[in-house]
């Protein structure tokens, strides 16, 4: 072990700590969990906004709750899963709970052109760049109107660019069901946009 450490290149010590190391440290000290939160805050906030269609404090509150929940269940994390997938799962469940609880309409998330273009590949970048605000709004409404099970897989697959295996672990669905939901969701989205 000591010999291995001695063989390590000098800049290895400066390498950002792996998730596994931070998790082990966070079990003893919440400050180490702070580093994990820093690492995943931005992608998870973006994911929450895409999933819920909300923005601002609403999504920040959801994420805060998700982080606290993740910290409480840190000992339940199994290293055979990707830590990001585990964290996405907790955040996803928290978001679904929030979506079911909320009746008021909070601040809306503005979809970017890139997001829309990734979800609607038939539109070329040039074509997409010509879309006016009304058309973008129409696409956003269509995405929001998709049933939850389709919206979540489309966001994870095409916007978060997660692999099928990761989506399986995030949504706790069998791979076949994920693949079917992606296919049907895509078909439904394009059909509704054409209508």
């Amino acid at each position: 072990m000591i010999a291995e450490e001695q063989k390590m290149p000098i800049d290895e010590a400066d390498r950002p700590r792996e998730d596994e190391d931070l998790i082990a440290a966070a079990r003893e000290n919440p400050e180490a969990f702070g580093q994990l939160m820093e690492r995943y805050e931005a992608p998870l906030l973006r994911y929450l906004m895409r999933l819920t269609g909300w923005a601002g404090e609403e999504v920040e509150d959801i994420l805060q709750e998700a982080f606290i929940k993740a910290y409480r269940h840190l000992n339940d994390y199994d290293s055979s899963l990707k830590f990001s997938a585990w964290l996405y799962r907790i955040t996803h469940n928290q978001a679904i709970d929030a979506l079911r609880r909320h009746t008021a309409s909070p601040v809306r998330f503005e979809w970017s052109l890139e997001d829309v273009a990734r979800l609607v590949p038939a539109k070329s970048d040039t074509e997409a760049s010509l879309w006016n605000k009304e058309e973008l709004e129409s696409v956003r409404r269509t995405i929001d109107s998709l049933p939850e099970r389709y919206r979540e897989v489309l966001v994870l697959r095409f916007l978060e660019e997660k692999s099928y295996e990761e989506i399986v672990d995030i949504l706790k669905m069998p791979k076949g069901s994920v693949a079917t939901a992606v296919k049907r969701g895509k078909e439904l989205l394009l059909k509704q946009l054409d209508a």
Binding site: P30, G34, M37, E38, L63, F67, R72, K172, S177
Partner: protein, 300 residues
């Protein structure tokens, strides 16, 4: 550190939030696995029992009495059992899904797994030498087990608890000198059995406490008119001439005279037929001799 992370850490500190102890999570996971395992074994056991019955029941009786496959299914699958088994299967799959990686497997594969385990267990149990001992221990040492079998489980007892369909089984309670006896069926109901026109297997000992199977039809709520009586152990027809229900009705009136002559042992059916044909040959020889004698007399 970002504002969100800082705020979250503050909340963790203020609320003295700490990771849940590993042993508690292990205990919870273990409980989930135990529940899933128990219900899955129960489901597999239910399927095993059904498979076991498929080996045990008298299929030829259904065939001979002209039951359609749907009627066979209806007669062997009591509603309560079907509902119970379906619920156990659903619960088993639902609990398996709740285990740590249960979500990775589709419902079809989980149902398939439980079903195949049940079939495999059933087939293994069937070949296991101790099977009969377990069965008789259940039957005779657990009070009310047979009645439970006859009412709830798909079983041989269930098969022979369908008087309205012509199949009745039970234990002889008294014997009248002559052509009837009384039995108590597996649902504890008393029946008078009219055996006047019945094919009677010689292996059936008409004595009290003897278990028997009877094919026939109900005359009234308490009387069952037997067309065939066989021992409980028997899984073979009494003779090759066991006829379908419909034909029996037509021939009933013609059969009255020769009923006693048709007392054929189920095991010895073929031998008896041979005996009959031997008798027939002897008669023929006798008549030929008589004819020769009479010819001689005429010549004299």
């Amino acid at each position: 550190m970002s504002a969100l992370s800082t705020k979250t850490l503050e909340r963790i500190a203020e609320g003295r939030v700490a990771p849940i102890a590993r042993w508690k999570l292990l205990l919870l996971g273990g409980a989930k696995w135990a529940a899933a395992g128990f219900v899955s074994v129960l489901a597999a056991f239910g399927i095993m029992l059904t498979v076991h019955v498929l080996f045990e029941i008298d299929w030829h009786v259904y065939q001979e009495l002209g039951f359609t496959p749907i009627e066979v299914l209806q007669s062997l699958s009591p509603l309560l059992w079907t509902v119970l088994l379906a619920l156990i299967l659903i619960a088993g799959v639902a609990l398996l899904r709740q285990t740590k990686y249960g979500y990775r497997y589709s419902l079809v594969s989980m149902f398939g797994l439980l079903f195949l385990s049940g079939v495999a267990m059933g087939a293994t149990f069937e070949r296991w030498p101790g099977e009969e001992r377990i069965e008789s221990a259940l039957m005779y040492k657990i009070p009310g087990y047979r009645s439970f079998e006859a009412r709830v489980l798909p079983s041989v007892e269930k098969q022979w608890s369908q008087p309205e369909d012509g199949l009745l089984g039970g234990t002889i309670t008294s014997i009248d000198e002559g052509k009837s006896f009384e039995i108590r069926d597996f649902e504890d109901k008393a029946w008078k059995i009219d055996t006047e026109d019945a094919l009677m297997s010689e292996s059936v000992e008409l004595k009290e406490n003897q278990e028997i199977k009877i094919i026939g039809e109900t005359e009234d709520n308490e009387t069952f008119r037997a067309t065939e009586v066989r021992s409980w152990e028997s899984k073979k027809p009494t003779s090759a001439s066991v006829r379908p229900k419909a034909e029996e009705h037509e021939e009933e009136s013609d059969d009255e005279e020769g009923s006693e002559e048709r007392d054929i042992d189920e095991e010895d059916g073929e031998e008896s037929e041979e005996e009959e044909s031997e008798d027939h040959d002897e008669d023929q020889e006798e008549s030929e001799e008589n004819q020769e004698d009479s010819e001689r007399e005429a010549e004299d």
